[in-house]
Protein backbone atom coordinates (compact mmCIF):
# COMPACT_ATOMS: atom_id res chain seq x y z
CA UNK A 1 0.00 0.00 0.00
CA UNK A 2 1.38 3.35 -1.07
CA UNK A 3 1.75 5.71 1.82
CA UNK A 4 0.83 9.24 0.88
CA UNK A 5 1.88 12.22 2.89
CA UNK A 6 -1.08 13.88 4.65
CA UNK A 7 -2.13 17.26 3.26
CA UNK A 8 -2.03 18.75 6.70
CA UNK A 9 -0.32 17.30 9.72
CA UNK A 10 -0.50 19.12 13.02
CA UNK A 11 1.42 17.96 16.07
CA UNK A 12 1.41 19.47 19.55
CA UNK A 13 -0.07 22.74 18.38
CA UNK A 14 -0.67 25.41 21.00
CA UNK A 15 -2.10 28.85 20.48
CA UNK A 16 -2.10 31.55 23.10
CA UNK A 17 -3.10 35.18 23.23
CA UNK A 18 -1.21 37.90 24.95
CA UNK A 19 -3.64 39.82 27.09
CA UNK A 20 -3.29 42.82 29.29
CA UNK A 21 -4.55 42.41 32.79
CA UNK A 22 -4.98 45.25 35.23
CA UNK A 23 -2.76 47.96 33.86
CA UNK A 24 0.41 46.77 32.19
CA UNK A 25 0.59 43.25 33.50
CA UNK A 26 0.68 40.80 30.65
CA UNK A 27 -0.69 37.34 30.63
CA UNK A 28 -0.65 34.59 28.05
CA UNK A 29 -4.04 33.06 27.59
CA UNK A 30 -3.73 29.57 26.18
CA UNK A 31 -6.71 28.64 24.03
CA UNK A 32 -5.40 25.64 22.12
CA UNK A 33 -2.98 23.24 23.74
CA UNK A 34 -1.21 20.13 22.41
CA UNK A 35 -3.55 19.64 19.54
CA UNK A 36 -2.93 16.79 17.10
CA UNK A 37 -4.75 16.23 13.82
CA UNK A 38 -3.96 15.22 10.29
CA UNK A 39 -5.99 15.33 7.10
CA UNK A 40 -5.40 13.09 4.12
CA UNK A 41 -6.43 13.56 0.53
CA UNK A 42 -9.98 12.52 -0.19
CA UNK A 43 -11.23 12.56 3.37
CA UNK A 44 -13.43 14.67 5.56
CA UNK A 45 -12.09 15.19 9.04
CA UNK A 46 -14.83 16.52 11.26
CA UNK A 47 -13.84 18.49 14.30
CA UNK A 48 -16.57 18.43 16.88
CA UNK A 49 -16.72 19.93 20.31
CA UNK A 50 -18.85 22.28 22.34
CA UNK A 51 -18.61 26.01 21.89
CA UNK A 52 -15.59 27.60 23.49
CA UNK A 53 -13.42 24.59 22.76
CA UNK A 54 -11.28 26.54 20.27
CA UNK A 55 -12.59 24.98 17.08
CA UNK A 56 -12.92 28.14 15.04
CA UNK A 57 -9.51 29.35 16.14
CA UNK A 58 -8.04 26.29 14.58
CA UNK A 59 -9.28 27.48 11.18
CA UNK A 60 -7.57 30.84 11.63
CA UNK A 61 -4.40 29.10 12.77
CA UNK A 62 -4.24 26.85 9.72
CA UNK A 63 -4.79 29.83 7.41
CA UNK A 64 -2.37 32.04 9.31
CA UNK A 65 -4.88 34.80 9.94
CA UNK A 66 -4.79 34.97 13.71
CA UNK A 67 -4.77 38.39 15.34
CA UNK A 68 -1.40 40.01 16.03
CA UNK A 69 -1.36 39.19 19.74
CA UNK A 70 -1.55 35.44 19.13
CA UNK A 71 1.46 33.15 19.29
CA UNK A 72 1.61 29.66 17.88
CA UNK A 73 3.91 26.80 18.84
CA UNK A 74 4.09 23.22 17.66
CA UNK A 75 4.62 21.51 14.37
CA UNK A 76 2.36 22.16 11.40
CA UNK A 77 3.19 20.65 8.03
CA UNK A 78 1.61 20.97 4.61
CA UNK A 79 2.50 17.96 2.43
CA UNK A 80 5.52 17.50 4.65
CA UNK A 81 6.76 21.07 4.37
CA UNK A 82 6.89 23.11 7.54
CA UNK A 83 4.06 25.64 7.49
CA UNK A 84 5.76 29.03 7.57
CA UNK A 85 4.05 32.39 7.46
CA UNK A 86 5.26 32.84 3.87
CA UNK A 87 3.89 29.45 2.88
CA UNK A 88 0.54 30.22 4.49
CA UNK A 89 0.44 33.51 2.66
CA UNK A 90 1.04 31.77 -0.64
CA UNK A 91 -1.43 28.95 0.04
CA UNK A 92 -4.43 30.78 1.35
CA UNK A 93 -6.97 31.53 -1.32
CA UNK A 94 -5.06 29.15 -3.59
CA UNK A 95 -4.48 25.71 -2.13
CA UNK A 96 -6.16 26.22 1.20
CA UNK A 97 -9.65 27.66 1.17
CA UNK A 98 -11.98 28.67 3.95
CA UNK A 99 -15.72 28.24 3.70
CA UNK A 100 -17.16 30.61 6.29
CA UNK A 101 -20.36 30.21 8.27
CA UNK A 102 -22.59 32.86 6.86
CA UNK A 103 -23.20 35.64 4.43
CA UNK A 104 -21.79 38.00 7.08
CA UNK A 105 -18.39 37.02 5.75
CA UNK A 106 -19.12 38.67 2.43
CA UNK A 107 -18.52 42.36 1.84
CA UNK A 108 -22.04 43.85 1.98
CA UNK A 109 -21.24 46.41 -0.69
CA UNK A 110 -19.55 44.24 -3.29
CA UNK A 111 -21.45 42.31 -5.91
CA UNK A 112 -21.33 38.57 -5.47
CA UNK A 113 -19.62 37.80 -8.76
CA UNK A 114 -16.73 40.15 -8.20
CA UNK A 115 -16.43 38.95 -4.65
CA UNK A 116 -16.21 35.29 -5.57
CA UNK A 117 -13.51 36.08 -8.13
CA UNK A 118 -11.54 37.71 -5.33
CA UNK A 119 -7.92 38.58 -5.96
CA UNK A 120 -6.81 35.12 -6.97
CA UNK A 121 -9.59 33.89 -9.24
CA UNK A 122 -10.82 34.70 -12.73
CA UNK A 123 -14.23 35.46 -14.17
CA UNK A 124 -14.23 32.17 -16.10
CA UNK A 125 -13.49 30.11 -13.01
CA UNK A 126 -16.18 31.95 -11.08
CA UNK A 127 -18.73 31.20 -13.83
CA UNK A 128 -17.73 27.54 -13.75
CA UNK A 129 -18.09 27.41 -9.98
CA UNK A 130 -21.51 29.07 -10.16
CA UNK A 131 -22.59 26.61 -12.82
CA UNK A 132 -21.40 23.71 -10.71
CA UNK A 133 -23.61 24.80 -7.83
CA UNK A 134 -26.58 25.72 -10.00
CA UNK A 135 -26.31 29.46 -9.51
CA UNK A 136 -27.80 31.58 -12.28
CA UNK A 137 -25.70 34.14 -14.15
CA UNK A 138 -27.82 36.91 -12.55
CA UNK A 139 -26.53 36.02 -9.11
CA UNK A 140 -23.21 37.63 -10.07
CA UNK A 141 -24.91 41.00 -10.06
CA UNK A 142 -26.57 40.60 -6.67
CA UNK A 143 -25.32 42.05 -3.43
CA UNK A 144 -24.95 39.65 -0.49
CA UNK A 145 -28.08 41.00 1.23
CA UNK A 146 -30.11 40.01 -1.81
CA UNK A 147 -29.12 36.35 -1.63
CA UNK A 148 -31.49 33.80 -0.19
CA UNK A 149 -30.12 31.45 2.45
CA UNK A 150 -29.58 28.63 -0.02
CA UNK A 151 -27.96 30.89 -2.59
CA UNK A 152 -25.64 32.34 0.03
CA UNK A 153 -24.56 28.84 1.01
CA UNK A 154 -23.70 27.97 -2.56
CA UNK A 155 -21.94 31.25 -3.17
CA UNK A 156 -19.74 30.60 -0.14
CA UNK A 157 -18.87 27.12 -1.32
CA UNK A 158 -18.10 28.54 -4.78
CA UNK A 159 -15.35 30.64 -3.24
CA UNK A 160 -13.61 27.42 -2.20
CA UNK A 161 -13.71 25.67 -5.56
CA UNK A 162 -12.71 28.65 -7.64
CA UNK A 163 -9.05 28.09 -6.95
CA UNK A 164 -7.41 24.73 -7.05
CA UNK A 165 -7.84 24.16 -3.33
CA UNK A 166 -6.35 20.96 -1.94
CA UNK A 167 -7.54 21.64 1.57
CA UNK A 168 -10.88 23.17 2.45
CA UNK A 169 -11.63 24.36 5.95
CA UNK A 170 -15.36 24.68 6.54
CA UNK A 171 -16.13 26.59 9.71
CA UNK A 172 -19.57 25.73 11.09
CA UNK A 173 -21.19 25.56 7.68
CA UNK A 174 -24.60 24.32 8.78
CA UNK A 175 -26.05 26.09 11.83
CA UNK A 176 -29.39 27.73 11.27
CA UNK A 177 -30.08 25.61 8.22
CA UNK A 178 -33.01 23.38 7.56
CA UNK A 179 -32.26 19.66 7.49
CA UNK A 180 -32.50 19.59 3.70
CA UNK A 181 -30.17 22.54 3.28
CA UNK A 182 -27.64 21.16 5.73
CA UNK A 183 -27.68 17.87 3.87
CA UNK A 184 -27.15 19.60 0.55
CA UNK A 185 -24.20 21.50 2.03
CA UNK A 186 -22.70 18.35 3.47
CA UNK A 187 -23.09 16.35 0.30
CA UNK A 188 -21.29 19.17 -1.52
CA UNK A 189 -18.37 18.69 0.83
CA UNK A 190 -18.55 14.94 0.40
CA UNK A 191 -18.32 15.35 -3.38
CA UNK A 192 -15.33 17.65 -3.02
CA UNK A 193 -13.61 15.10 -0.79
CA UNK A 194 -14.34 12.34 -3.27
CA UNK A 195 -12.57 14.45 -5.89
CA UNK A 196 -9.45 14.13 -3.78
CA UNK A 197 -9.55 17.26 -1.68
CA UNK A 198 -9.00 17.15 2.05
CA UNK A 199 -11.70 18.76 4.14
CA UNK A 200 -11.68 19.95 7.70
CA UNK A 201 -15.24 20.30 8.83
CA UNK A 202 -15.59 22.29 12.02
CA UNK A 203 -18.99 21.68 13.52
CA UNK A 204 -20.89 20.96 16.67
CA UNK A 205 -23.42 18.82 14.87
CA UNK A 206 -22.20 15.31 15.68
CA UNK A 207 -25.02 13.65 13.76
CA UNK A 208 -24.10 15.33 10.50
CA UNK A 209 -20.41 14.72 11.10
CA UNK A 210 -21.08 11.04 11.71
CA UNK A 211 -23.11 10.78 8.54
CA UNK A 212 -20.70 12.49 6.12
CA UNK A 213 -17.20 12.50 7.64
CA UNK A 214 -14.53 9.82 7.49
CA UNK A 215 -12.95 10.57 10.80
CA UNK A 216 -14.05 12.67 13.73
CA UNK A 217 -11.75 14.55 16.04
CA UNK A 218 -13.24 15.31 19.43
CA UNK A 219 -12.28 18.70 20.83
CA UNK A 220 -12.25 19.47 24.49
CA UNK A 221 -10.94 22.71 26.04
CA UNK A 222 -8.70 23.49 23.08
CA UNK A 223 -7.23 20.08 22.49
CA UNK A 224 -8.08 16.89 20.63
CA UNK A 225 -8.89 14.17 23.12
CA UNK A 226 -9.62 11.58 20.46
CA UNK A 227 -9.73 10.99 16.76
CA UNK A 228 -12.23 8.28 15.95
CA UNK A 229 -13.47 6.69 12.77
CA UNK A 230 -16.94 7.94 11.92
CA UNK A 231 -18.30 4.37 12.18
CA UNK A 232 -17.22 4.21 15.82
CA UNK A 233 -19.95 6.66 16.66
CA UNK A 234 -22.50 4.31 15.17
CA UNK A 235 -21.23 1.40 17.19
CA UNK A 236 -21.63 3.07 20.53
CA UNK A 237 -19.50 4.07 23.49
CA UNK A 238 -17.52 0.81 23.55
CA UNK A 239 -16.04 1.62 20.16
CA UNK A 240 -14.97 5.07 21.33
CA UNK A 241 -11.72 5.59 23.19
CA UNK A 242 -11.70 8.62 25.44
CA UNK A 243 -13.96 9.01 28.50
CA UNK A 244 -15.07 12.41 27.19
CA UNK A 245 -16.07 10.97 23.81
CA UNK A 246 -18.07 8.28 25.56
CA UNK A 247 -19.75 10.91 27.72
CA UNK A 248 -20.45 13.00 24.63
CA UNK A 249 -22.03 9.99 22.95
CA UNK A 250 -24.28 9.36 25.91
CA UNK A 251 -25.29 13.00 26.01
CA UNK A 252 -26.73 12.85 22.49
CA UNK A 253 -30.53 13.07 22.41
CA UNK A 254 -30.97 9.68 20.75
CA UNK A 255 -28.70 8.01 23.33
CA UNK A 256 -30.47 9.15 26.46
CA UNK A 257 -29.44 12.79 26.82
CA UNK A 258 -27.29 11.89 29.82
CA UNK A 259 -25.20 14.82 31.04
CA UNK A 260 -22.01 14.56 33.07
CA UNK A 261 -21.27 16.89 35.96
CA UNK A 262 -18.83 19.78 35.73
CA UNK A 263 -17.97 22.22 32.98
CA UNK A 264 -15.26 22.56 30.40
CA UNK A 265 -12.34 24.58 31.81
CA UNK A 266 -12.11 28.10 30.44
CA UNK A 267 -9.10 29.34 28.54
CA UNK A 268 -6.79 30.83 31.13
CA UNK A 269 -7.64 28.27 33.78
CA UNK A 270 -6.42 25.20 31.91
CA UNK A 271 -5.21 22.52 34.35
CA UNK A 272 -1.95 20.68 33.80
CA UNK A 273 -1.99 17.08 32.57
CA UNK A 274 -5.22 15.69 31.17
CA UNK A 275 -7.69 18.51 30.63
CA UNK A 276 -10.64 16.25 31.24
CA UNK A 277 -9.27 14.80 34.51
CA UNK A 278 -11.35 17.00 36.85
CA UNK A 279 -14.56 15.49 35.43
CA UNK A 280 -13.28 11.98 34.73
CA UNK A 281 -14.42 8.85 36.56
CA UNK A 282 -11.20 6.99 35.83
CA UNK A 283 -8.88 9.70 37.08
CA UNK A 284 -5.66 8.56 38.78
CA UNK A 285 -2.39 10.19 39.89
CA UNK A 286 -0.81 9.62 36.47
CA UNK A 287 -3.47 11.74 34.77
CA UNK A 288 -1.81 14.87 36.12
CA UNK A 289 1.38 14.22 34.17
CA UNK A 290 2.05 14.68 30.47
CA UNK A 291 -0.36 12.66 28.33
CA UNK A 292 0.79 11.91 24.78
CA UNK A 293 -1.55 11.19 21.88
CA UNK A 294 -1.32 7.50 20.97
CA UNK A 295 -2.77 5.23 18.34
CA UNK A 296 -5.46 2.86 19.48
CA UNK A 297 -7.81 0.62 17.51
CA UNK A 298 -7.42 2.56 14.26
CA UNK A 299 -7.93 5.92 15.94
CA UNK A 300 -5.97 8.12 18.24
CA UNK A 301 -6.55 8.95 21.85
CA UNK A 302 -5.10 11.21 24.47
CA UNK A 303 -5.70 9.12 27.58
CA UNK A 304 -3.48 6.69 29.48
CA UNK A 305 -6.38 4.56 30.67
CA UNK A 306 -8.05 3.98 27.32
CA UNK A 307 -7.92 0.44 25.94
Amino acid sequence: MEHKEPILDIKNLSVSFRMYEKGLEQKDLKVISNLNIHVDEGEILAIVGSSGSGKSLLASTVLGILPKNASVTGDMRYYGQPMTIELQQRLRGREIALVPQSVEYLDPLMKTGKQVVGVRGTKEKQRLAFKRYGLQREVEELYPFQLSGGMARRVLVSTAVIGDAKLIVADEPTPGMSKAMAEEAMSNFRTLADEGKGIILITHDIDLAFEYADRIAIFYAGTTVETALAEDFGRGPEALRHPYSKALWEALPQNGFKPIPGTQPYAGSIPGGCLFAPRCLYKTEECLGEIPMRTLRGGEVCCIHAD
Binding site: G93, D107, P108, M110, G118, V119, Q146
Partner: protein, 327 residues
Protein backbone atom coordinates in the same frame (compact mmCIF):
# COMPACT_ATOMS: atom_id res chain seq x y z
CA UNK B 1 -41.42 57.48 -8.13
CA UNK B 2 -44.49 58.19 -6.03
CA UNK B 3 -42.42 57.60 -2.90
CA UNK B 4 -39.77 59.99 -4.12
CA UNK B 5 -42.35 62.76 -4.64
CA UNK B 6 -43.76 62.12 -1.21
CA UNK B 7 -40.28 62.22 0.31
CA UNK B 8 -39.40 65.52 -1.34
CA UNK B 9 -42.75 67.09 -0.41
CA UNK B 10 -42.29 65.96 3.18
CA UNK B 11 -38.77 67.35 3.28
CA UNK B 12 -39.86 70.71 1.92
CA UNK B 13 -42.61 70.88 4.49
CA UNK B 14 -40.15 70.16 7.28
CA UNK B 15 -37.84 72.86 5.98
CA UNK B 16 -40.73 75.33 5.99
CA UNK B 17 -41.57 74.49 9.59
CA UNK B 18 -37.94 74.86 10.53
CA UNK B 19 -37.72 78.25 8.83
CA UNK B 20 -40.76 79.51 10.73
CA UNK B 21 -39.41 78.15 14.00
CA UNK B 22 -35.91 79.55 13.58
CA UNK B 23 -37.15 82.96 12.42
CA UNK B 24 -39.51 83.17 15.39
CA UNK B 25 -36.83 82.25 17.93
CA UNK B 26 -34.27 84.57 16.33
CA UNK B 27 -36.80 87.40 16.28
CA UNK B 28 -37.67 86.95 19.95
CA UNK B 29 -33.99 86.86 20.87
CA UNK B 30 -33.07 90.01 18.95
CA UNK B 31 -36.10 91.96 20.13
CA UNK B 32 -35.36 91.13 23.76
CA UNK B 33 -31.66 91.93 23.35
CA UNK B 34 -30.56 95.00 25.35
CA UNK B 35 -29.03 96.60 22.28
CA UNK B 36 -31.02 99.60 21.07
CA UNK B 37 -30.80 99.60 17.27
CA UNK B 38 -31.13 103.38 17.07
CA UNK B 39 -28.30 103.97 19.55
CA UNK B 40 -26.19 101.39 17.76
CA UNK B 41 -26.97 103.07 14.46
CA UNK B 42 -26.23 106.69 15.35
CA UNK B 43 -23.32 105.84 17.58
CA UNK B 44 -22.78 107.03 21.15
CA UNK B 45 -20.88 110.19 20.26
CA UNK B 46 -23.33 111.72 17.81
CA UNK B 47 -25.33 114.77 18.88
CA UNK B 48 -28.61 113.70 17.37
CA UNK B 49 -31.50 114.84 19.48
CA UNK B 50 -34.02 112.51 21.14
CA UNK B 51 -36.75 113.75 18.76
CA UNK B 52 -34.70 112.76 15.77
CA UNK B 53 -34.04 109.35 17.30
CA UNK B 54 -37.77 108.92 17.82
CA UNK B 55 -38.35 109.73 14.19
CA UNK B 56 -35.84 107.07 13.16
CA UNK B 57 -37.43 104.53 15.49
CA UNK B 58 -40.86 105.36 14.10
CA UNK B 59 -39.56 105.11 10.55
CA UNK B 60 -38.09 101.66 11.24
CA UNK B 61 -41.30 100.59 12.91
CA UNK B 62 -39.57 99.91 16.21
CA UNK B 63 -42.53 101.27 18.14
CA UNK B 64 -45.00 98.76 16.75
CA UNK B 65 -45.83 95.76 18.95
CA UNK B 66 -43.44 92.85 18.31
CA UNK B 67 -46.16 90.55 16.98
CA UNK B 68 -47.10 93.09 14.35
CA UNK B 69 -43.43 93.61 13.42
CA UNK B 70 -42.94 89.88 12.99
CA UNK B 71 -46.07 89.50 10.88
CA UNK B 72 -45.03 92.44 8.71
CA UNK B 73 -41.66 90.79 8.20
CA UNK B 74 -43.31 87.49 7.22
CA UNK B 75 -45.70 89.27 4.84
CA UNK B 76 -42.84 91.07 3.11
CA UNK B 77 -40.78 87.88 3.01
CA UNK B 78 -43.56 86.15 1.09
CA UNK B 79 -43.25 88.90 -1.50
CA UNK B 80 -39.54 88.24 -1.71
CA UNK B 81 -38.62 91.30 0.32
CA UNK B 82 -36.34 90.58 3.28
CA UNK B 83 -36.21 94.20 4.29
CA UNK B 84 -33.32 96.63 4.47
CA UNK B 85 -30.29 96.11 6.64
CA UNK B 86 -29.82 98.86 9.19
CA UNK B 87 -26.10 98.22 9.56
CA UNK B 88 -25.27 97.93 5.89
CA UNK B 89 -27.88 100.38 4.59
CA UNK B 90 -28.67 98.03 1.72
CA UNK B 91 -31.40 95.51 1.00
CA UNK B 92 -30.75 92.35 3.03
CA UNK B 93 -30.94 90.17 -0.09
CA UNK B 94 -28.16 92.16 -1.71
CA UNK B 95 -25.91 91.89 1.36
CA UNK B 96 -26.55 88.15 1.59
CA UNK B 97 -25.63 87.76 -2.05
CA UNK B 98 -22.38 89.71 -1.86
CA UNK B 99 -21.32 88.19 1.41
CA UNK B 100 -22.18 84.66 0.44
CA UNK B 101 -19.91 84.77 -2.57
CA UNK B 102 -16.99 85.75 -0.32
CA UNK B 103 -17.93 83.15 2.29
CA UNK B 104 -18.49 80.45 -0.30
CA UNK B 105 -14.86 80.67 -1.44
CA UNK B 106 -13.74 80.26 2.16
CA UNK B 107 -16.15 77.49 3.09
CA UNK B 108 -15.69 75.53 -0.11
CA UNK B 109 -11.91 75.57 0.24
CA UNK B 110 -12.08 74.48 3.86
CA UNK B 111 -14.74 71.90 3.07
CA UNK B 112 -12.68 70.26 0.34
CA UNK B 113 -9.40 70.37 2.26
CA UNK B 114 -10.83 69.06 5.53
CA UNK B 115 -12.85 66.42 3.69
CA UNK B 116 -10.03 65.06 1.57
CA UNK B 117 -7.31 65.38 4.19
CA UNK B 118 -9.51 64.09 7.01
CA UNK B 119 -10.55 61.10 4.94
CA UNK B 120 -6.98 60.19 4.02
CA UNK B 121 -5.68 60.58 7.54
CA UNK B 122 -8.62 58.59 8.91
CA UNK B 123 -7.98 55.76 6.45
CA UNK B 124 -4.30 55.55 7.41
CA UNK B 125 -5.01 55.72 11.14
CA UNK B 126 -7.83 53.17 10.96
CA UNK B 127 -5.86 50.74 8.82
CA UNK B 128 -2.83 50.84 11.08
CA UNK B 129 -4.70 51.36 14.31
CA UNK B 130 -2.53 51.49 17.41
CA UNK B 131 0.57 52.17 15.36
CA UNK B 132 2.70 55.19 16.14
CA UNK B 133 1.18 57.15 13.25
CA UNK B 134 -2.29 56.37 14.55
CA UNK B 135 -1.48 57.52 18.05
CA UNK B 136 0.08 60.77 16.88
CA UNK B 137 -2.89 61.46 14.65
CA UNK B 138 -5.42 60.56 17.30
CA UNK B 139 -3.79 62.91 19.81
CA UNK B 140 -3.67 65.68 17.23
CA UNK B 141 -7.34 65.19 16.42
CA UNK B 142 -8.45 65.17 20.05
CA UNK B 143 -6.51 68.35 20.75
CA UNK B 144 -7.88 70.03 17.64
CA UNK B 145 -11.47 69.08 18.20
CA UNK B 146 -11.35 70.48 21.69
CA UNK B 147 -9.77 73.73 20.51
CA UNK B 148 -12.07 76.61 19.55
CA UNK B 149 -11.74 77.79 15.95
CA UNK B 150 -11.16 81.42 16.87
CA UNK B 151 -8.17 80.48 19.04
CA UNK B 152 -6.55 78.56 16.20
CA UNK B 153 -7.27 81.57 13.99
CA UNK B 154 -5.53 83.90 16.43
CA UNK B 155 -2.58 81.53 16.70
CA UNK B 156 -2.16 81.35 12.94
CA UNK B 157 -2.52 85.10 12.77
CA UNK B 158 0.22 85.64 15.34
CA UNK B 159 2.62 83.21 13.70
CA UNK B 160 2.06 83.62 9.98
CA UNK B 161 0.75 87.15 9.66
CA UNK B 162 2.41 89.06 12.47
CA UNK B 163 5.67 87.22 13.08
CA UNK B 164 6.52 85.80 9.70
CA UNK B 165 4.52 88.29 7.70
CA UNK B 166 3.71 85.75 5.03
CA UNK B 167 0.01 86.51 4.92
CA UNK B 168 -2.14 89.60 5.46
CA UNK B 169 -3.73 90.10 8.88
CA UNK B 170 -7.25 90.45 7.57
CA UNK B 171 -9.87 91.25 4.92
CA UNK B 172 -10.45 89.46 1.67
CA UNK B 173 -8.67 91.94 -0.59
CA UNK B 174 -5.81 94.43 -0.09
CA UNK B 175 -6.95 97.55 1.73
CA UNK B 176 -7.35 100.66 -0.40
CA UNK B 177 -7.32 98.96 -3.76
CA UNK B 178 -10.12 99.33 -6.29
CA UNK B 179 -12.18 96.16 -6.63
CA UNK B 180 -11.46 96.01 -10.35
CA UNK B 181 -7.71 95.94 -9.77
CA UNK B 182 -7.67 93.08 -7.27
CA UNK B 183 -6.07 89.99 -8.78
CA UNK B 184 -7.10 86.40 -8.11
CA UNK B 185 -3.74 85.82 -6.40
CA UNK B 186 -4.40 88.59 -3.96
CA UNK B 187 -7.74 87.04 -3.16
CA UNK B 188 -6.16 83.63 -2.60
CA UNK B 189 -3.42 85.21 -0.50
CA UNK B 190 -6.09 86.64 1.79
CA UNK B 191 -8.03 83.41 1.82
CA UNK B 192 -5.21 81.14 3.02
CA UNK B 193 -5.26 81.76 6.77
CA UNK B 194 -9.03 81.79 7.32
CA UNK B 195 -9.42 78.71 5.15
CA UNK B 196 -6.62 76.99 7.03
CA UNK B 197 -8.27 77.79 10.36
CA UNK B 198 -11.55 76.37 9.22
CA UNK B 199 -9.90 73.29 7.65
CA UNK B 200 -7.86 72.41 10.72
CA UNK B 201 -10.93 72.35 12.93
CA UNK B 202 -12.88 70.39 10.32
CA UNK B 203 -10.19 67.79 9.67
CA UNK B 204 -10.23 66.22 13.12
CA UNK B 205 -13.94 65.46 13.04
CA UNK B 206 -13.78 63.79 9.64
CA UNK B 207 -10.52 61.97 10.44
CA UNK B 208 -11.79 60.55 13.75
CA UNK B 209 -15.04 59.34 12.20
CA UNK B 210 -13.27 57.78 9.24
CA UNK B 211 -10.71 56.17 11.53
CA UNK B 212 -13.41 54.58 13.66
CA UNK B 213 -15.29 53.29 10.65
CA UNK B 214 -12.11 51.94 9.09
CA UNK B 215 -11.27 50.11 12.31
CA UNK B 216 -14.74 48.57 12.34
CA UNK B 217 -14.25 47.41 8.78
CA UNK B 218 -10.80 45.96 9.52
CA UNK B 219 -12.31 43.99 12.42
CA UNK B 220 -15.25 42.75 10.36
CA UNK B 221 -15.87 39.19 9.39
CA UNK B 222 -15.70 39.99 5.71
CA UNK B 223 -12.19 41.33 6.09
CA UNK B 224 -11.20 38.18 7.96
CA UNK B 225 -12.57 36.16 5.08
CA UNK B 226 -10.79 38.37 2.56
CA UNK B 227 -7.54 37.69 4.40
CA UNK B 228 -8.33 33.98 4.38
CA UNK B 229 -8.65 34.24 0.62
CA UNK B 230 -5.21 35.72 0.24
CA UNK B 231 -5.88 39.42 0.03
CA UNK B 232 -3.04 41.60 1.25
CA UNK B 233 -3.65 44.49 3.61
CA UNK B 234 -3.41 46.97 0.77
CA UNK B 235 -5.87 44.97 -1.34
CA UNK B 236 -8.26 44.80 1.60
CA UNK B 237 -8.11 48.56 2.10
CA UNK B 238 -8.64 49.16 -1.60
CA UNK B 239 -11.36 46.59 -2.22
CA UNK B 240 -13.31 46.56 1.03
CA UNK B 241 -12.11 49.43 3.18
CA UNK B 242 -12.70 52.36 0.87
CA UNK B 243 -15.92 50.84 -0.43
CA UNK B 244 -17.40 50.50 3.02
CA UNK B 245 -16.28 53.78 4.52
CA UNK B 246 -17.05 55.95 1.51
CA UNK B 247 -20.78 56.15 2.15
CA UNK B 248 -20.58 57.28 5.78
CA UNK B 249 -17.73 59.64 4.91
CA UNK B 250 -19.68 61.33 2.11
CA UNK B 251 -22.79 61.54 4.26
CA UNK B 252 -20.81 63.05 7.08
CA UNK B 253 -19.18 65.51 4.73
CA UNK B 254 -22.53 66.94 3.64
CA UNK B 255 -23.96 66.80 7.11
CA UNK B 256 -21.03 68.92 8.32
CA UNK B 257 -22.45 72.07 6.70
CA UNK B 258 -23.62 73.31 10.09
CA UNK B 259 -20.16 73.04 11.68
CA UNK B 260 -18.74 74.67 8.59
CA UNK B 261 -21.10 77.61 8.85
CA UNK B 262 -20.62 77.92 12.58
CA UNK B 263 -16.86 77.78 12.20
CA UNK B 264 -16.87 80.38 9.45
CA UNK B 265 -18.66 82.88 11.73
CA UNK B 266 -15.72 82.69 14.14
CA UNK B 267 -12.95 82.46 11.56
CA UNK B 268 -14.33 85.40 9.58
CA UNK B 269 -14.56 87.50 12.70
CA UNK B 270 -10.92 86.85 13.64
CA UNK B 271 -9.67 87.71 10.16
CA UNK B 272 -12.18 90.53 9.52
CA UNK B 273 -13.07 88.51 6.46
CA UNK B 274 -16.18 90.11 4.95
CA UNK B 275 -18.32 87.01 4.63
CA UNK B 276 -21.72 85.98 5.91
CA UNK B 277 -20.47 85.06 9.35
CA UNK B 278 -18.89 88.44 9.73
CA UNK B 279 -22.15 90.04 8.59
CA UNK B 280 -24.05 88.05 11.20
CA UNK B 281 -21.78 89.34 13.96
CA UNK B 282 -22.12 92.95 12.82
CA UNK B 283 -25.89 92.60 12.54
CA UNK B 284 -26.07 91.09 16.01
CA UNK B 285 -24.01 93.84 17.60
CA UNK B 286 -26.09 96.57 15.96
CA UNK B 287 -29.47 95.05 16.70
CA UNK B 288 -30.07 94.83 12.95
CA UNK B 289 -33.18 92.63 13.01
CA UNK B 290 -33.80 92.24 9.24
CA UNK B 291 -30.16 91.41 8.53
CA UNK B 292 -29.89 88.95 11.39
CA UNK B 293 -33.10 87.19 10.42
CA UNK B 294 -31.85 87.13 6.84
CA UNK B 295 -28.61 85.40 7.86
CA UNK B 296 -30.52 82.99 10.11
CA UNK B 297 -32.88 82.07 7.27
CA UNK B 298 -29.99 81.63 4.93
CA UNK B 299 -28.07 79.38 7.34
CA UNK B 300 -31.16 77.23 7.84
CA UNK B 301 -31.52 76.67 4.12
CA UNK B 302 -27.78 76.10 3.76
CA UNK B 303 -27.56 73.47 6.50
CA UNK B 304 -30.84 71.89 5.50
CA UNK B 305 -29.73 71.49 1.91
CA UNK B 306 -26.49 69.89 3.12
CA UNK B 307 -28.38 67.33 5.17
CA UNK B 308 -30.84 66.75 2.37
CA UNK B 309 -28.00 66.03 -0.07
CA UNK B 310 -26.46 63.69 2.52
CA UNK B 311 -29.71 61.75 2.77
CA UNK B 312 -30.19 61.58 -0.98
CA UNK B 313 -26.63 60.41 -1.59
CA UNK B 314 -26.90 57.80 1.13
CA UNK B 315 -29.93 56.31 -0.55
CA UNK B 316 -28.31 56.54 -3.94
CA UNK B 317 -24.98 54.98 -2.95
CA UNK B 318 -26.12 52.26 -0.58
CA UNK B 319 -27.36 49.27 -2.56
CA UNK B 320 -29.45 48.03 0.34
CA UNK B 321 -31.58 51.14 0.09
CA UNK B 322 -31.25 51.64 -3.65
CA UNK B 323 -32.16 48.12 -4.71
CA UNK B 324 -34.49 47.32 -1.86
CA UNK B 325 -35.49 43.93 -0.53
CA UNK B 326 -34.47 40.42 -1.32
CA UNK B 327 -34.84 38.87 -4.74
Amino acid sequence: MMNMMKYIAGTLFRMLLLLVGVSLVSFILVVSSPIDPVEAYVGSESNISQEQKDVIAEYWGLNDPPVQRYLTWIRNLLHGDMGTSIAFKKPVVQVLEERFITSAALMLTAWVISGVLGFMLGVVAGTFSDSLADRVLKTFCFVMSSTPAFWIGLLLLVVFAVHLGWFPVGFSVPVGKAASEVTIWERIHHLVLPALTLSITGVSNIALHTRQKMMDVMKSEYVLFARARGESRWQIVKRHGLRNIAIPAITLQFASFSELFGGSVLAEQVFSYPGLGNAATIAGLKGDVPMLLGVAMFSVVFVFVGNFIANLLYGLLNPEIREGGRV
